[in-house]
């Protein structure tokens, strides 16, 4: 019975995610369109609502091309390996007070551990394509993701210290108890998280692994059709996961005035978090690899460590 429930829940979440990704892409295109004084997609369906669906259908109908010189097995495996972990992390996310899959007491650890596996997909995809641009893209991607994983984890630690639990539901409940979202006592942590998340997701201005003006399209240059769609799906799923994680940790999860149900609050906060990314993407040029690395190691990590120290001091002395 449990197993059936689990499978059922997973399927529901997957379907919800597919819908979510579809409209996240539309949301991004619309927002960026308006920022660039144009309309964005508006041909398919009212307000362009079916645009992404049409795009996906097109991708699914395309010929499946695998370059002759590619390492076939790894080439095929890479998109799946990129998608699987970013989907698996949804197990511990709690959408509202009652809507959740697993109440894991090491939820934070699980999320960080599993999500860092997506970089394997990037590495394998770039390596197996047997293309210099893909390889450069994946090398950049892995270096960047490994480097920014550290400040990301460190910024989360502040929250864990304050709440004294690694259970994601516990963290939200703690915020309910003290009557304050963690974004206020952990503002520094939030900013570090926001920046490292952008780098972790390869989004502009840190979109070096797929910088189209330099590397054509980075690690997925050689991919087409549904395999390419898989990479895109993985990217947006992971984006949704990261913003859901941020909502849980810093923005009080499903908490909010009672006139709207918890899940609506949750999704609204996620949207605001994602909107910031789109906004940055429409505004900023791309950073350079060495600047990016310097910024990660010399600025973000010391800041994150400082944040931990301050948090620990507050915790011990003020007895929060």
């Amino acid at each position: 019975m449990d197993l059936l429930y689990m499978v059922l829940f997973a399927v529901v979440v997957l379907l919800g995610l597919l819908g979510g990704v579809t409209y996240a892409i539309l949301f991004e295109r619309k927002v960026i369109g308006w920022m660039q004084i144009r309309n964005g997609p508006n041909r398919h369906g009212p307000w362009g609502l079916f645009q992404t669906i049409a795009d996906v259908l097109k991708l699914l109908m395309k010929e499946d091309i695998i370059p002759a010189a590619a390492d076939r097995k790894i080439f095929v495996l890479a998109p799946i390996l990129a998608f699987a972990p970013s989907f698996t992390v949804f197990a511990v996310l709690s959408w509202s007070d009652t809507l959740y899959a697993a109440d894991l007491n090491i939820g934070v650890l699980y999320f960080l551990g599993v999500s860092s596996m997506t970089m394997l997909g990037v590495l394998m995809g770039g390596w197996s394509s047997n293309n210099k641009y893909s390889l450069l893209g994946s090398i950049r991607g892995v270096a960047q993701m490994v480097s920014y994983e550290i400040p990301l984890v460190l910024s989360v630690l502040g929250v864990v210290i304050l709440s004294g639990t690694m259970n994601l539901r516990g963290i939200v409940q703690y915020q309910d108890d003290i009557g304050m979202w963690f974004i206020i006592p952990q503002f520094l942590g939030f900013v570090i998280y926001l920046i490292s998340a952008i780098a972790e997701l390869n989004r502009s201005p840190f979109d070096l692994p797929e910088a189209e003006s330099e590397l054509v399209s980075g690690y997925h240059t050689e991919y087409s059709g549904f395999r390419y769609a898989f990479f895109m799906l993985a990217e947006y799923t992971y984006a949704i996961a990261i913003s859901a994680f941020a909502t849980t940790l810093f923005l009080g999860g499903w908490l909010g005035p009672a006139f709207l149900p918890g899940i609506v609050w949750f999704i609204l906060k996620m949207c605001i978090f994602m909107f910031i990314w789109f906004w940055l993407r429409a505004t900023l040029p791309r950073a350079r690899v060495d600047h990016l690395m310097q910024f990660g190691w010399k600025v973000l990590i010391p800041l994150a460590l400082l944040n931990i120290v301050i948090t620990a001091v507050i915790k011990v002395w003020m007895g929060w």
């Binding site: 979109d207 054509v216 791309r286």
Partner: protein
Amino acid sequence: MSIKTETMTLNMGPQHPSTHGVFRLLVEVDGETITKAEPVMGYLHRGSEKLAENFLYTQFIPYTDRLDYLNAMTNNYVYCAAIEKLLEWEIPERADYLRVIVMELNRIASHLVWWGTYLLDIGALSPFLYAFRDRDICLDLLNEISGARMTFNYIRIGGVKWDAPEGWVDKVKEKVKELRENIAEYDTLVTGNEIFQARTIGVGKLTKEQVINWGISGPLARASGVNIDIRKEEPYSIYDRFDFNIPTREEGDVFARYKVRIAEMYESLKIIEQACEQIDEGEIIHKKGARIMMIKPPAGEAYTRAEASKGEIGVYAVSNGKNKPYRIKLRRPSFVNVSILQDLLIGENIQNLVAIFGSLDIVLGEVDA
């Protein structure tokens, strides 16, 4: 113990998003450092100079549109000016004013395209669309007077083809104000941006000596402190009647080139404004200019140069007294400017490649002729 290392050859292009056309760059990299760079071109070669020998003088004008298609007015002008030099014709004053207005409008359009695409090269998406919106203002004005948006074929031997439509000059005056505001907005959006400055300041430095020795001209040269602008050196057309500055900077890096081009747009606006004030009614073409079969410059040869948005554009015209040119040589600024890549990229980090390449502002139609 020594570690065995290998250099890697990276083939950029002919199909690559940042070459802005079909251009190939063979780079050899040792780790991240470029040790050799070899531009390969000619993919767009159409034999313009050969074609010229088979046309009447006037018939070749449309072909000059297709050299630097972003700045076609100056190309038209310099070709016509070369023939007029051989013919020793006096150009009606109104035609000269119209020429200056359209050339400067076109220069702004060209610099805006550079501004947008360059920022696209270094990863900022929105400026591209803003730039093209304003470029459209310029192109609409040019379209109204010439009937085409890019390949104008407007300036003719002896004058210009069409007079300005009614109210056009006033419209230009109005749009100049709008353009000035918008360009100032772009300045605030991009110039102060930390990431942008980190990517451009100190990158791709060209010294004064390098510039002169390699024959570099235009904004590229002026960003390295070489103060040459043919509009001031040997004022052609009626440029000596306007009050404008030649923006120069000493740094010679990518950021300096950016600043010079932005400042140049303001100067062009100034020239347009003055020209719109001074322009008078009158003839628009030399009385013999419309009879194209009759254009037969006396035997002789002359080199004529003008300041295009990319640098010095020149035409060496040889006439043997017949109604077809004996030889037309086109000195294309992009073709000469691009040769510096062989020298400029050596020792640079590969991440700067796109940032440097884009800052040269080359147009492949012009490189390949």
